[in-house]
């Protein structure tokens, strides 16, 4: 994944109605947001880039592939883009279904005041946060990959809250050796405290099964 910060977010609009599409583009532009409009789900999928930060404003009723089906396809691909559904005639079961599948919001046309812009801003913030977390996790995983197997063992024991003495006993080495491993560890992972080191280890979400 490319670093998220380098790309400005794009609001994708997928609606089969030409007037709705172009009016949304203008509205988003007036709010200082960049948008890309697509006439159909398949059109969108062909252009969709998972590394592009943004959100999706998606009409639920469309010919061929409808909004829910597109949402399914995105879920299947593991895409993280937040989805805001819009519909001309809201029906409750459809709204419930879309939320159950992970939609961020469900808005009925026409939109009230700044409702849509507000939700879009929330969606973009959420996407940014998601990408940063993912990016941070990837960076930590990268640093952890540089550890020797012995250093990794020490890190896992540290995360379990063991003292240097306990670790020395567990691994059958001297406390001095443990201290050296710890120093290398802190340096390689770029941690300034044991607490931060453990937090990063947990954030990397790689488990303790190797020990």
């Amino acid at each position: 994944m490319k670093p998220a910060a380098t790309l400005a977010p794009i609001v994708y609009v997928v609606d089969d109605d030409e007037a709705v599409r172009s009016s949304l583009k203008l509205l988003l532009k007036s709010a200082g947001l960049t948008s890309l409009a697509h006439v159909s789900a398949t059109d969108f999928l062909a252009a969709f880039d998972e590394d592009q930060p943004g959100c999706l404003v998606l009409d639920i009723r469309m010919p061929e592939m409808n909004g829910l089906e597109l949402q399914d396809e995105l879920n299947r691909r593991g895409a993280m883009i937040p989805v805001i559904f819009i519909t001309g005639h809201g029906d409750v079961p459809m709204a419930v279904e879309s939320m159950r599948r992970g939609a961020l919001d469900f808005l009925q046309k026409p939109f009230r005041d700044e409702d849509l812009i507000d939700r879009v801003r929330i969606a973009l913030a959420l996407d940014k946060n998601n990408r940063e977390q993912l990016g941070a996790r990837d960076a930590i995983r990268c640093r952890l990959a540089a550890l020797t197997p012995r250093e990794m063992q020490v890190l896992q024991l540290l995360a379990l809250g063991k003292s240097n003495k306990q670790m020395a006993g567990d691994l059958g080495v001297s406390q001095r050796t443990i201290e050296i491993h710890r120093a290398h560890l802190m340096h390689k992972v770029e941690a300034t405290s044991v607490a931060q080191l453990v937090r990063m280890f947990l954030a990397a979400d790689i488990g303790t099964s190797t020990y």
């Binding site: 109605d17 007037a19 709705v20 172009s22 009016s23 949304l24 203008l26 509205l27 532009k29 007036s30 709010a31 009723r61 819009i86 519909t87 001309g88 005639h89 029906d91 409750v92 079961p93 009925q108 046309k109 026409p110 939109f111 005041d113 700044e114 849509l116």
Partner: protein
Amino acid sequence: MRPSSANREVQALLDVAIDAVIIIDHRGIIESFNPAAERMFGYTASEALGSNVSVLMPEPDRSAHDSYIARYLGSGIPHILGIGREVDARRKDGSIIPVALAVGRIRDSDPPRFVGFLHDLTVRRRAAEEQQLIRERMTRVSHLATLGEMAGAIAHEINQPLAAISNYALACQRMLEATEPGIAEIQDALKQISGQALRAAEIIGRVRSLVRARARRREPCDINALIQEVSALVRSEARPQGVQLSLDLADDLPPVEVDGIQIQQVLLNLIHNAIEALSTVGSGERRVTVRTGRTTPTELTISVIDSGPGVDPALSGRIFDPFCTTKEHGTGLGLAISKSIIEAHRGRLVHHPNVPTGACFSINLPVLEGVQ
């Protein structure tokens, strides 16, 4: 068994057979023509005997039948022998009837002779066609069935231009707040707004003309027959909900001049509502009754009565208002449209509470002039 006795028995069989039995020789000349064949075709046996069997067929079989026999005699390959099929037969008066035909070769006959059994399918065919007609009518009614669905589709259509208008308007507002508003862009958005307003008006116009076009199709109808068709439709919906639908229809009602499909839509809507109301009832009887009667010399009344919780008294003054709904995903248009349909028929749709519990919706319709 002696031959003479066998002949008598065969003769008796042919005489009492319900199906037509005809024997022909290798040239297609009729040798035997039983009483059932006389009844089926309108020819007497003496008229038929000695004629070519092709007189009993419409074209193209009529001209081609001799060649069918010749083909079989030449090749020995049967095309109909022992197979049987449904064919058209031609009566003496020229009318055509559908028949099931089975043909067999009489064993050891040389030159060969053939026996044909014909079963009249007219009644069965007519029943099937009637079934088909009823089914088509049902589909048409159920297709247009829920006014709410129709209203939903219209709402969806109109909300598109409305959404565009409100988006453009909001965008204009925001752009005007900017320090240097892009006048050209705002002008273009305003043009779009008026265009989309016209589009919304066009959609409304289309709906109106649809309703107008339908209003012209009025013909004298038997109201009880309309109700019976609707009840056949909703019974399958009522049964799983444990709702019993009963009809209490008055005899000898005069015809009413109505658009049958529209009246059926109204009835469907009222019965749907009644069934939905009953689905909230925990225990007790779940019954919907549709009753017809002649209330005055010039009017008849159709009542849809349920034993549900009835209409909330706080709402009873507004239930015919558009967008008044108690359902989670109702449009609030069903009763409003129903009322306007009935009023377009110079009738009235009213609601009153049912005793001891439930709701009663009554439709009054003027009977056809000159009949009362």
